[in-house]
């Protein structure tokens, strides 16, 4: 009896498997996909981000069923219709809100992992580029979704961002009107944002994620040692330093998922507004077109870009500066052409530079969290210079430099900083005192980085010998 059922089930599955490559795909992409055996904790964020994507789609589906994309109804359809009138609506909505922020936490960590271990280097340039497009799509998705609750911050945030286009001379204003479908953010804007948020962007995101995964499985995973595992295979052409993705990394990811859900649900149940970071307090107030808030600021994940925008005392250049930071990320494979992948075997000053990249990004976020005072704007400008410099300095570490080249790099960096300051002084953007007080930040960073490279050349030397095999395995190594 039992064996009859089993053979019957195998027959049914076989019928499908003969016509659709189910087991073949499972074997090649999961149970026989060679993954380096030394993935550490940094390698869980990709699969967790995938999980959150699914979570957002599932919770978003239920929210979209109850949501009303109409300025008269939107606010209460969320606050009452979803949160109170529908059963479990509050839980679904809070999961969607916390999920959005979790997505960005995971994606930022995932990206920084890629930067640390050189996962954008040959042959993974396209993989990285697709990832950047995923990040951009995600940013667009988050921005579009933020308008939907029709709160004050939703409304004015969207008003500010849709006004970005007006920085373009002559055609800017008509384009902004065309984008909004109205002269101000209004019903047509809400309607199209809703459609883009629930229909266009999710499809785009899913497609990009699929391409990202296909590209990953085509070129194979990088690892914390940066060693190409496919260069060392056994007689069955299996990489000697690889374990099959399933079960080894599925059990590891399951562990990571459990830990993630502990944190995730703590926020959902006990701190859904995340101290005002995940859900701005001002957004509890319905949108009011006649009442502009004193301080309009984006949610936490866009704060660093907001600091860049605020720091530059010109709308168009400000927008170019923050858009430029996306371009810099996309250009990482071009900027950093050093053959050594992993940060483990890069020089000390390169490590400092990568650390400064993360640190200046966080600092920018902190600055933008403060009010739009002149002080914060000036700091924003100068920390933006540091952030940019961490990217511009990457080619410096591509190979060992002569002392003359190092001096030229130092002078060029200081000249660049000086020129930007000169521009600030010439347009009287800020008071002299404030400028002089903060000028030193990028100047000192350039001096530290290139000056130390001149005085202590050993600090720019990558490890003399790279490992040929992976050095350690397991999650806590």
């Amino acid at each position: 009896m039992n064996s009859n059922i089993r053979s019957w089930a195998r027959g049914v599955f076989g019928w499908f498997d003969d016509r659709l490559p189910i087991s073949a795909t499972w074997r090649s992409q999961v149970s026989r996909y060679p993954a380096p055996k030394n993935f550490n904790l940094w390698y869980i964020f990709g699969s967790l981000a995938l999980l959150v994507l699914v979570l957002q789609l599932a919770t978003g589906l239920f929210l979209a069923i109850h949501y009303q994309p109409n300025p008269h109804l939107a606010y209460w359809s969320v606050l009452r219709g979803i949160q109170r009138d529908s059963r479990w609506g509050w839980l679904i909505r809070d999961m969607h809100v916390v999920g959005a922020s979790a997505f960005f936490v995971l994606v930022y960590l995932h990206m920084y992992r890629g930067i640390m271990y050189g996962s954008y280097k040959k042959p993974r340039e396209l993989l990285w580029l697709v990832g950047i497009f995923i990040y951009l799509a995600l940013a667009a998705e988050a921005f579009l979704g933020y308008l939907l609750p029709w709160g004050q911050m939703s409304y004015w945030g969207s008003a500010v961002v849709t006004n970005f286009v007006t920085a373009v001379p002559v055609i800017g204003k008509p384009i902004a009107t065309w984008l909004r479908g109205s002269f101000v953010v209004d019903l047509p804007t809400l309607n199209r944002f809703f459609v883009f948020h629930v229909f266009l962007m999710p499809i785009l995101l899913l497609a990009l994620v699929l391409v990202h995964l296909i590209a990953l499985h085509h070129v194979g995973s990088n690892n914390p040692d940066g060693v190409e595992i496919h260069d060392n295979v056994n007689e069955t052409s299996w990489p000697r330093d690889a374990v099959p993705f399933h079960p080894y990394y599925t059990v590891k990811d399951l562990f990571a998922v459990s830990i993630f859900f502990v944190v995730f649900f703590w926020f959902v149940f006990y701190n859904p507004s995340g101290w005002g970071f995940l859900l701005d307090k001002l957004n509890y107030t319905p949108a009011n077109i006649l009442h502009t808030p004193a301080d309009i600021h984006p949610l936490w994940f866009f704060l660093p870009f907001y600091a860049m925008l605020r720091g530059v005392p010109d709308k168009l250049y400000g927008i170019m500066t923050f858009a430029g930071s996306f371009a810099l990320l996309a250009c990482l494979p071009i900027l950093d052409r050093n053959p050594v992948r992993s940060i483990r075997y890069r020089s000390t000053l390169y490590k400092v530079n990568i650390l400064a990249m993360a640190f200046s990004f966080l600092w920018l976020g902190l600055i933008a969290h403060g009010l739009a005072t002149e002080h914060n704007m000036v700091y924003g400008l100068h920390v933006t210079e540091v952030f940019y410099m961490t990217f511009f300095a990457l080619p410096f570490f591509n190979r060992r430099r002569t002392i003359r080249t190092k001096v030229i790099w130092l002078l060029a960096a200081e000249a660049l900083v000086g020129l930007i300051d000169l521009w600030m002084y010439s347009i009287h953007a800020h008071s002299w005192g404030l400028m002089l007080l903060t000028d030193w930040i990028p100047a000192l960073y350039a001096l530290l980085l290139f000056g130390l490279a001149i005085v202590f050349p050993a600090l720019t030397h990558d490890a003399a010998k790279l490992p040929e095999r992976l050095t350690a395995g397991g999650i806590f190594h």
Partner: protein, 271 residues
């Protein structure tokens, strides 16, 4: 000298960090330019299980506040369970002000009247109570003071230049401010930090404070409808994933025990 032992391998990181730390501190000074002296908020303890307080709060809110304010986040019918009443009891004691029992709670005053009266639409109390802390609401409700320079003749300690008239004047009596020299948006100004009684109302101060506390309790309960459900479900869901974390960690260890990083024999594929 070997490279590993060079103290400078870690030195620059410390230097960069120290420099930036110093800079962050001076960034904090930026707040000074927009600083406004904040009056102390009166401490308040609210008990969401106190049905008597909730009922009293509901009575005042639905009979006084909703004359101008709406409370659109809730329906009359959804208050019944929170207040521990039957439908008949609710209709008799609190009432629905002529609305259907399942209607949302809206303002009793037509907007044309409100417009002529205070010129500004009174905000909905659901999101006011969601946005502000109980201490703020309590301080706000008890801290109206006479200010002849204002159109309504009153101002508020917790909310400078408030548009709302002092509707509690008959209950609490009028009050005068306790002023101090402080800052408003960075400029020196006289700032109210408390109130003192000026005239007597129909209630004693203790009675009125209790009434204000009941209103705040009710508003908080209305604005945070799933608090109890959260604290009931939370430990179970989080506990489940803590348990799963332990289990999946054990499974993870079980599988990875076989993976020996330095040896060749740890995995033979194709067998």
């Amino acid at each position: 000298m070997t490279k590993q032992n060079s103290p400078l391998r870690r030195h620059p990181i410390a230097l960069v960090l120290a420099a930036w730390l110093a800079a962050s501190f001076s960034a904090a000074a930026a707040w000074a330019s927009v600083a406004t002296t904040q009056p102390p908020l009166k401490p308040i303890t609210i008990n969401l299980q106190d049905k008597a307080a909730l009922r009293n709060g509901a009575l005042y809110t639905l009979h006084m506040c909703t004359a101008c304010h709406s409370l659109q986040g809730v329906r009359y019918s959804s208050l019944r369970r929170m207040l521990g009443m039957s439908e008949a009891q609710f209709k008799e004691v609190i009432g629905t002000n002529g609305h259907h029992y399942h209607d949302t709670i809206t303002s009793s005053m037509p907007s044309s009247v409100i417009d002529a009266f205070v010129k500004i639409l009174p905000p909905d109390l659901t999101y006011i109570a969601r946005r502000h802390s109980p201490a703020f609401l309590y301080t706000y409700l008890t801290s109206f003071y006479v200010d002849p320079s204002r159109p309504n003749g009153v101002n508020n300690v917790a909310f400078n230049n408030v548009a709302m008239p002092d509707v509690f004047a008959s209950l609490q009596g009028l009050q005068k401010p306790v002023m101090t020299q402080g800052l408003r948006y960075g400029s020196p100004a006289q700032v109210a930090i408390g109130v003192e009684p000026l005239t007597k109302g129909s209630m004693t101060q203790a009675q009125f404070d209790r009434t204000a506390r009941d209103i705040v309790t009710f508003l908080y309960a209305v604005a945070h409808p799933h608090e109890q459900e959260r604290s009931r479900l939370g430990p179970w869901i989080i506990g489940l994933f803590v348990l799963l974390s332990v289990l999946t960690y054990l499974i993870y260890r079980l599988y990875w025990r076989r993976v020996v990083s330095t040896e060749e024999r740890w995995w033979k594929v194709g067998k």
